[in-house]
């Protein structure tokens, strides 16, 4: 998006010693403290967490189902470590990621468990790491690492998928997103794991230890197409921002703002973007996240697979989904007790609104 901060690049503003004013240490501390408070509060307001916790449940179900079904056929396809991405790509994720991957081969060993990072790919927004766990200990079917790699202080969220490929051998893919308002071209990653467990959040059998990784990753090349479009319905505005295309994926950035009334009427407000190209390919949403300064304005980022090289246009259709959470019981006065989630086949209120599609040239 073109804005004033970009335009201010390269504009020479002459400054001299007279332009500065003395500042005390106290003053500096005060400014820093206030800023830290603001950027951290912003993180807390993030919508992503709620999204992701819902997503984890969905991914968890779908993921294990697919992995379970296709386990035998894929296990043979993993004779060496380089194509872990391919292993996890049968549901549309990670196709051709291995071509962009940066080989790392970092190893950390602790408490009889060896953890090695194989490949990383970073698209400016999401970091993908493939890893392998080798041990004589019984970590169950899907061990949990309980830690996200950190590469910024803007707040992060992520998902991991781990699967057993052999006795004492597990492979996994981990995705981590950041909340910064812009993409990064290079990141310094710090991944510290202090416990591997058989159940999420250090539950079940826990193997304590110290596995640490530090590395830098460059973002893959990408190009950005600015898209200006605005849809309005009663109580809500959806605005397109841009599409970012990387060699292995594309991301759509858009945002929505809602009136207080609409916000209060519904428990969940999602805006998804359905994507097709001019050749008829349909691109499923692989990841969707949103964050915002307030609950009324949210910035969304949706990730999709690789754009068909022969496609010249993408057709985007925003779909607004307004829904309520499940009722899990009733209190003494007969008022419904609301859950903080909505299950997949819920019969709670839901309204889906499809907006007018737009066409974007991608060649």
């Amino acid at each position: 998006m073109r804005d004033i901060y970009e335009l201010l690049n390269g504009i020479e503003v002459k400054t001299s010693a007279e332009d500065t004013l003395p500042v005390s240490e106290m003053e500096k501390k005060k400014v820093i403290k206030q800023l830290q408070h603001q950027i951290r509060t912003k993180k807390k307001r993030s919508y992503w967490k709620r999204m992701i916790s819902a997503a984890i449940i969905t991914f968890g179900l779908i993921g294990s189902l697919l992995v379970g079904l296709s386990f035998t056929s894929y296990a043979e396809d993993v004779p060496f470590l380089g194509n872990i991405f391919n292993f996890f790509s049968h549901d549309g994720h990670y196709v051709t990621y291995d071509e962009q991957a940066e080989k790392l081969d970092l190893v950390a060993e602790s408490n009889g468990i060896t953890l090695s990072i194989q490949d990383t790919v970073f698209d400016g927004r999401t970091l993908y790491i493939t890893f392998m766990i080798e041990t004589e200990k019984d970590l169950g079917e899907t061990p949990w690492l309980n830690s996200l790699p950190r590469f910024t202080d803007t707040g992060m969220s992520g998902t991991e998928r781990v699967t057993k490929i052999d006795e004492g051998k597990y492979i996994g893919v981990l995705e981590t997103n950041h909340y910064a308002g812009h993409d990064f071209s290079e990141i310094e990653v710090e991944w510290i794991i202090d416990g591997i467990s058989t159940e999420p959040n250090l539950e079940g059998t826990v193997f304590e230890g110290d596995w640490e990784f530090y590395f830098t990753v460059q973002a893959t090349e990408s190009r950005t197409i600015a898209v200006d479009n605005r849809w309005e319905i009663d109580g809500m505005t959806v605005t397109m921002d841009e599409i970012k295309i990387t060699p292995m994926s594309f991301m759509i950035y858009y945002n929505h703002s809602v009136t207080e009334k609409l916000y209060n009427d519904w428990d969940f407000i999602f805006v998804e973007m359905n994507v097709e190209d001019d050749l008829g390919n349909v691109y499923p949403t692989l990841a969707l996240g949103g964050y915002g300064d307030t609950d009324f304005d949210l910035n969304w980022m949706a990730t999709y697979g690789k754009v068909d090289p022969d496609a010249t246009q993408l057709i985007l259709t925003p779909v607004i989904e307004l829904s309520n959470s499940d009722t899990i019981g009733y209190d003494e006065d007969g008022n419904p007790i609301k859950a903080s989630y909505r299950s997949v086949d819920s019969d709670a209120d839901q309204e889906v609104i499809e907006l007018e599609p737009i066409t974007v040239e991608v060649k």
Partner: protein
């Protein structure tokens, strides 16, 4: 790794909090100086503090849009400070003005006033982008940074009259474009 004088831009762009501390430490005197120069006459300590805070927050949130080295970064910080402080000044003055008897002293809106009000209008930014690079710079310097023609002329190595005529033409072009773009009610008469 710690933030220092050679890696702070990169670390800021990576979203590292200690880089934010570094730039406050390094640039607060400059940011405060520039803000004070513009907002000082209003004698409003709270507004000055708010503005300074907003400047650093904008730098943090928009770090990825900066392109250049540490020296250019200083200029970018100075430009943001100036633009923000002018913005705060205009808004504060506007509030004061509306508080007075506005019938007797109607507020006169200049193109510059209206443009700065529209700072977040994406359409306007896109319109500015349709200008030639040098005219883009002139428009930004004049309308957002409140620089005089002579200052702009010196900075760009042009004559003052050349700058004046370019401002005139750019302004005309922007209002024509705004009509072309059919930005009904958003940018046309209200802004240009």
């Amino acid at each position: 790794m710690k933030t220092n004088g050679t890696n702070f831009v990169r670390r800021l762009q990576m979203g590292k909090e200690d880089a934010l501390e570094y730039i406050v430490d390094e640039y607060l005197p400059l940011v405060k100086g520039i803000s004070y120069k513009i907002l000082g006459p209003l004698s409003n300590e709270g507004l000055l503090e708010e503005c300074i805070n907003d400047i650093f927050l904008s730098i943090w949130n928009n770090a990825g849009k900066f392109k250049g080295d540490a020296i250019q970064f200083k200029s970018w910080v100075a430009a943001i400070s100036k633009f923000k402080a002018i913005d705060y000044y205009r808004k504060a003055v506007k509030i004061k003005e509306t508080g007075m008897d506005s019938l007797e002293f109607p507020v006169r809106h200049t193109v510059e006033d209206e443009i700065i009000q529209a700072e977040n209008e994406k359409e306007l930014m896109d319109l500015i982008h349709t200008l030639k690079p040098v005219d883009q710079k002139i428009v930004i310097m004049r309308f957002f940074l409140g620089m005089h023609s002579s200052e702009i002329a010196e900075s760009l190595g042009l004559s003052k009259s050349a700058v004046d005529s370019r401002i005139f033409r750019a302004r005309k072009k922007l209002s024509e474009k705004a009509e072309d773009f059919m930005l009904g009610g958003k940018l046309d008469e209200r802004y240009l």
